[in-house]
Amino acid sequence: MGAHHHGPAKGLSRWLFTTNHKDIGTMYLWFSFAMFILGGAFAMIIRAELFQPGMQLVEPAFFNQMTTLHGLVMVFGAIMPSFVGLANWMIPMMIGAPDMALPRMNNWSFWILPPAFLILASTLFMEGGAPNFGWTFYAPLSTTYAPPSVTYFIFSIHVLGLSSIMGSINIIATVMNMRAPGMTYMKMPLFVWTWLITAFLLVAVMPVLAGAVTMMLMDIHFGTSFFSAAGGGDPVLFQHIFWFFGHPEVYIIILPAFGVVSQIIPAFSRKPLFGYDSMVYATASIAFLSFVVWAHHMYTVGMPVAGELFFMYATMLIAVPTGVKVFNWVTTMWRGAMTFETPMLFCMGFLVLFTIGGFTGLMLSIAPADFQYHDSYFVVAHFHYVMVAGAVFSMSAAVYYWLPKWCGRMYNETMGKTHFWISFIGFNITFFPQHFVGLAGMPRRIPDYALQFADFNMLSSIGAFIYGASQILFLYNVIATIVAGKPTSDEKTWDGAEGLEWTVATPAPYHTFETPPQVK
């Protein structure tokens, strides 16, 4: 049993039965891209309907299903699994480990995802249609008024949660237990740090989400009254439980993105990351604060004033560690010998656009102002600046940055830059006008709107089609690189890159660090 296999097995069984962190990482990345395309298709339907005022293409009920599934698929299917895939590929290589700590469970965490999404997507074809209550599935929309498919939605959320919890336990065990000799906590690459903290958040809040959907299930089928005032419960209770999960969730999405940017900006600035220690502490502070700010999503629900004030001030506090991060990234670039290859372009785009998203977040944190912004397109613009320009841009940066290491071939720089610029322009055309229509009073999640919003909405839809098309270019770039990219065997693809992953051969062999490196 001690014999080492040095290459992967042939055929489908390699992927079905694998215990290799690189194979599993690859599957996660491809799966998340497939979900990105699916969720994107839903978004295109939304934007096509909103191209002009009035009802053109879809029924309002179907429109609601699209907004719901777009959110669910993008959050749980595209963004989260993509960063788990990145963690699988990179964390063992970054800390000098032979694999993830619990390799068989790792495979299981992945394989329960595709069927769970199959169940979720199949609700579209069920009687009564797919879930139509928004990705936040507030009661009583998701209980009293839900279509029957809600039951399948609940169980698919359970399975996704199980996948996330197992994946996170694996990452925590890997980081705490598998570091090479000499790799102390404060020498770990920041991507590893941000994922360690993210994994902690996931283990802490995914069970709470499981609790929330379990209460829904009981209310719907077994006559409990958690979210029904008639029995002494409260629909607002649902919102509290959901956002106790939901707010850490947004940091679960963005912290690994912070980690990616913290790897890439130093590489192309040819300087070490400015303020490494403060980056670690800032990440931990953001994670801690994320547990005590959840009700800022619910200012208009009728909370006591003391609650509004507490959650307002706690939310504003998050700007401090986030500011530390932005400051450190900018200062890392200060007087660096900078070059602007595609990964760096995406990181610069991230930096500018994420900061805009952060500032609109600060606007939304002010309770009295939020009474005006709440549930308007301003909120939609805000969180897409953070989710798309934050998480998805950094994910694109990560793919271009590590793709040569993964497959031993270099992507086409011109094509990469083209992808970036089309994305950047398309993204801003889509979402910048949404700030204005939101402030002018256009509510979110509606299939039709007042005439004065027509111009900006048409612009927004055009931008969305451009952004959507640029992702097809992304897919083309990645496939073209894997199939026909210029072969490279440089261990270090980027001359400014630091870290153990750049000390192994290119492309990365199937097994790396079977004997651990010594970290000085």
């Binding site: 619990l102 169940i119 029957p148 399948y152 069970p207 409990t224 029904s228 029995g231 419960g233 079977e514």
Partner: protein
């Protein structure tokens, strides 16, 4: 069995390809899909015969069989000496964070209980910031815990606001200490005694295996499993009493909801923990497993058991006494 210092890193056991993850996936997905279909048949179905139960049971069986094979493989690997000290630490970390995730699951339900008792209840009854709606929506509802009357009963089914469904009827008697006839007739107290004793006995078993005393280990572990079974039996009795004599059901408003969900999930976890301990007992008695320095399967199960106990202490305090 284990080598230390620098060589332990070289021995990290990365298993070969394994079919178990895919089998576990098939079992899990079939059982969840089946469970969802069973519930939809029940609530939205037209009474026609479906294969939902069959899918559910097949999935559950397949899933359990896979888990059995999975754990058997892990145990055999350990016996074969494949597990380095480092891999064993990975298992320890895995178990610790798994229990942490379970703690957070209960946290959601306790959070719901606290929120309802400190804020929602008084608001519905007309107190404080949220109380202004009482005379508009639930006129005449007075809040108390345990809740003697649901808001629906206060205004009558026909007069309740539209966004509510179902009927919620309060009970004659709650499980709280205040409703008990006498302390020695109060079942939850006996439950507490049984479960807390089992925490002591599992600790005695742990002491036994640390001394290498297998006889002591087997006896105390056997007693622990027996106490666990007694606890589950008493819980079944309590539920029977609640439904048959107290009129306390899942439909009894938020008191019934929180009572049955908290004690029910706790009971489910007791059954899981008991099954884990039972398997360790069988491994020890029938298979001769475990030595003074290699008994992680037992140790992990005992941590789980202590966790279940601690949850009960909170339940006893916040669900039954206060």
């Amino acid at each position: 069995m284990t080598t230390h210092s620098s060589t332990e890193y070289e021995k990290y056991y990365v298993p070969e390809k394994s079919k178990m993850a895919v089998c576990a996936t098939i079992g899990l997905i079939l059982s969840t899909f089946g469970a969802a279909s069973v519930m939809n048949d029940m609530t939205f179905g037209d009474g026609a015969t479906t294969s939902s139960w069959g899918i559910f049971w097949f999935g559950l069986f397949f899933f359990s069989a896979t888990l059995f094979a999975w754990f058997r493989t892990a145990i055999r690997e350990n016996i074969a000496g494949l597990n380095s000290a480092q891999l064993k630490k990975s298992y320890v970390l895995g178990m610790f964070w798994f229990i942490f995730s379970e703690v957070m699951f209960f946290f959601a339900f306790f959070g719901a209980l606290f929120y309802v008792r400190t804020l929602v209840g008084p608001w519905l009854g007309g107190e404080g910031d949220g109380g202004r709606m009482n005379h508009l929506l639930w006129e005449g509802f007075q809040y108390a815990w345990p809740m003697a009357q649901t808001p629906q009963e206060a205004v009558g089914l026909a007069n309740q606001p539209v966004a509510n469904m179902g009927t919620f009827q309060s009970y004659e008697k709650s499980m709280a200490f205040s409703d008990a006839a006498a302390w020695y007739l109060w079942l939850p107290m006996w439950n507490t005694i049984v479960l807390l004793s089992s925490s002591v006995t599992v600790h005695m078993a742990h002491m036994g295996i640390l001394d290498g005393d297998k006889r002591k280990f087997n006896i105390w572990l056997g007693i622990t499993v027996a106490l666990g079974m007694l606890f589950v039996g008493l819980q079944i009795l309590e539920y029977y009493e609640a439904y048959a004599h107290f009129g306390l059901t899942l439909n009894s408003g938020i008191y019934g909801s929180t009572f049955f969900m908290l004690t029910g999930f706790h009971g489910f976890h007791v059954i899981m923990g008991m099954t884990m301990l039972l398997i360790q007992w069988l491994r020890s008695v029938k298979g001769g497993h475990f030595t003074a320095d290699d008994h992680f399967g037992f140790e992990a199960s005992s941590w789980y058991w202590h966790f279940v106990d601690v949850v009960w202490v909170f339940l006893f305090l916040f669900v039954y006494i206060l």
